[in-house]
């Protein structure tokens, strides 16, 4: 007699552990594949899972087997025209003649392809990256809390007594508690008035009503004006202050000299940056500044999608950034980071001005400033000026991106986890 068991509801992820081990073992290859994937597709859908291929020779499990050569006989089915003694040419590279090892799933033998979930994909993508020197300001200090209002409570100390709330509470309670006697009182008074109007005000019945009215009035009056039950206190709770709050400035050149492809690369660089930031730091603000001859602060969507053309005055963006920092992000409270993307094209006279702005006004305020020059044939004037900046300031980093594929390595280079000594 057979026994039937319904296993459908028992756990299904039995292989999850083995899958994780597989991923861990081929981390290097997978990471490379992820990098390839990023350069190959549009950034808007970066946040989704990805099909990954890694060379299957890397993950072979070896066994002892025969190599080609020697003398061997094989039986095949489906003979059509051969008779014994026939001689035939060797089929090219012995395909299909091997140990029947044609890949069972129809996939090429050279690649082992599989899916990564979104979560896994992003993890590989961002591994090892962290904003540099973020620890500096507040990470080391004790977590700060701030008292913030959080509605009302019925317990508290007298200093926090909320008078209006308490009175409101009292009115409601008084109304509710006196509702019965007041209704009776109203009826009694009506009856009395009726008796009096009929000239029967001296009857014992009227007398009784009067007594009752007095009693009822006393009952209504006995409802306390303010009860301890009414008291309401302003409630305050401790809200942890983010230990490191950061603001990231994204500066991008959208001038005429930035052609479509360059813009595209710049966009991707910022998108990577954006993804990275929104993922790694819960409390981080972003400021987007795009510029041609004049700079403008825009929202995220505008930053990536709008098109404008014109000349290039890089300093306009730097000046605007400085302004915003002074206005909204005092550097005592904020870690300030900035990343600038440009093709290096700038009005001749403006580049020295940029250098001075950076060295004198901006760099003293920021933790880190990254500059990427996109697809510049030769390093431009701005690059040379920035090289000077780099030589005098440690927080400044610059890289050149020549092609789409460079984005990821450059990105990693700029934001590599600093080895902590």
């Amino acid at each position: 007699m057979s026994q039937f068991v319904d296993r459908r509801l028992s756990g299904k992820n039995r292989s999850a552990v083995n899958r994780q081990r597989f991923l861990r073992r081929f981390k290097g290859q997978i990471r490379r594949a992820v990098a390839d994937a990023v350069s190959g597709r549009s950034v808007a859908d970066l946040e989704r899972g990805e099909k990954i291929s890694i060379p299957s020779k890397d993950l072979n499990e070896p066994i002892f087997h025969h190599g080609p050569g020697g003398r061997r006989s094989i039986v095949h089915p489906g003979n059509k025209e051969f008779v014994s003694g026939d001689r035939v040419e060797r089929p090219p590279q012995g395909g299909g003649q091997g140990q029947g090892s044609a890949s069972p799933d129809g996939e090429g033998m050279d690649e082992f392809a599989f899916e990564l979930s979104r979560e896994e994909f992003m993890n590989y993508f961002f591994e090892d990256l962290a904003l540099p020197e973020l620890v500096k300001k507040q990470l080391a200090t004790t977590p700060e809390v701030k008292r913030v209002r959080a509605g009302f409570s019925n317990q508290g100390n007298p200093a926090n007594l909320h008078v209006v709330r308490s009175m409101k509470q009292a009115i409601g309670r008084r109304l509710a508690m006196s509702a019965g006697p007041r209704e009776s009182l109203r009826q009694a008074e009506e009856q009395l008035a009726e008796l009096e109007s009929r000239g029967l005000g001296d009857e014992s019945e009227a007398e009784q009503l009067r007594e009752e009215i007095v009693k009822l009035k006393a009952r209504v009056a006995a409802v306390p004006f303010l009860d301890t039950w009414d008291l309401r206190y302003a409630n305050r709770v401790d809200q942890p202050q983010p230990t490191s709050q950061a603001v990231m400035f994204c500066l991008m050149d959208v001038s005429g000299s930035m052609d479509e492809e360059r813009k595209n690369i710049a966009k991707r660089f910022f998108m990577l940056l954006y993804l990275f930031l929104t993922r790694s730091y819960e409390r981080i603000e972003l400021v987007f500044i795009r510029h041609h001859t004049v700079a403008k602060e825009v929202d995220e969507e505008d930053f990536f999608t709008s098109r404008e053309t014109g000349g290039t005055v890089v300093s306009s963006a730097l000046a605007l950034m400085h302004e915003i920092v002074c206005e909204r992000y005092p550097s005592a409270l904020w870690n300030i980071y900035a990343a600038q993307a440009s093709d290096g094209d700038n009005w001749e006279d403006d580049s020295p001005r940029c250098r001075d702005l950076l060295v004198n006004s901006i760099l003293p305020l920021v933790q880190y400033y990254a500059y990427v020059e996109i697809k510049a044939e030769n390093p431009q004037r701005l690059w040379h000026e920035y090289e000077y900046v780099k030589s005098v300031n440690r927080q400044f980093a610059m890289q050149r991106i020549l092609d789409m594929e460079d984005i990821y390595p450059v990105f990693r280079k700029l934001f590599r986890k600093k080895e902590t000594a």
Binding site: S15, G70, R71, V75
Partner: protein, 504 residues
Amino acid sequence: MSDDHTAESRQYLSQGSEWNFDLLHLYDREIGRVAAHYGLDTYPNQIEVITSEQMIDAYSSVGMPVGYNHWSFGKQFVATQKGYKRGQMGLAYEIVINSSPCIAYLMEENTMTMQALVIAHASYGHNSFFKGNYLFRTWTDAEGILDYLVFARNYVAECEERYGEEAVEEVLDSCHALMNHGVDRYVRPAKLSMAKEKSRQRERAEYLQSQVNDLWRTLPPREAVEESAVERRFPAEPQENLLYFIEKNAPRLESWQREIVRIVRKIAQYFYPQRQTQVMNEGWATFWHYTLLNHLYEEGRLTDGFMMEFLQSHTNVVYQPPFYSRAYGGINPYALGFAMFRDIRRICENPTAEDQRWFPEIAGSDWVQTLDFAMRNFKDESFIAQYLSPRLIREMKLFTVLDDDTEDTLEIAAIHDENGYRQVRQILAEQYNLGHREPNIQVWNVDVYGDRSLTLRHFAHSRRPLGESTTEMLRHIARLWGYDVRIESADESDQAELVAECPV
């Protein structure tokens, strides 16, 4: 069968394609009844209904219901999942485990017809094969295997906790590489059981580690002083079971590592009969699902629709593409096995003059008994050598190709004609001889008094060389052995030459 039984069984078991547990019970009872009628002897059945996801899980752990964790199972899982998701690959309809009770999995997505097919195929076909075939009876212990797998999983997990996942993974990698060489081909294995295994494991570990074996001896024993002049060989005889040799003799393994080697070896041994009886096992199960369901159909218990669906998947399973087809990937074991068992039945029931000449002892005999005998006493190699008939060779149009690397062209050595039958049959049988398919590699020598290096010898058959994985394999062996490992290849005239070497 009595008349009223026939009248009662004119009723169909079910009409639609939906299944439910009552129907499963009903079909199982009916199939079991017919199986008993044909005298199929089985372990008790445990039939588990699972989802496709669970099927992928089961699939990726080589069907082991419990297994230790290893990345290679994850790789298998990822590959299966991908194939299934993209619809490139149907899942196996069933997985069946050689255990008692015999566990078979049914997928919930299957139709009633497929469930019945799987029950007949796995729970009665494979199951009776597991219970009857001499290899399974000798090599596996159906009662003990589940317990042993639990023991193995827990032991490996414990080692991971104590020595770190990576250390364990390294040992497992190396052991897996040698899995095909972890089998005793001639010695009968001891039975596995959880309780024994557990209690013995501790003793063994302590004993092995404490024992001063030859490899650790620093002071040569007195007689060895005289003997060393004559250069004593260790091991005295070449050893074919590399994993066993390593487990017992590797100088630098810790006791937990030895135990892991042992676990992999035991599991390899458990799967060894399956690798030797692919054609027979699948052929047997296919033959019986075909016979049992046809029997039920003739009794009038299955609808025509049921039979159409059943025959369609049956035909797909036993299709043998010809060698020039794009779908050709070698001989389909289902096709060959099924055809052979049917052919044996035909020889018993309707022998021709040719059959009388080739199979005098079975022609005209009782087919149920003859089949039972064939199932019990053969493995693929001997089964084919014994029973492949000229008629089947003609039907399948089998021919042999001789590939000799000293010749420019391939030779068609034999075809399906009077002169070729015996040669075709012999070569096909050899093709299923594991000893020919896998290189014959043996432990040849250990330099006991020198650098402790291990020498393996490959006995080349028909001049066939080792593949390109050999160097990598040596690294795995060297990891387990702990000292230099080299492999030499000997041809028929016993001339050995060094193939590869792996210094530690």
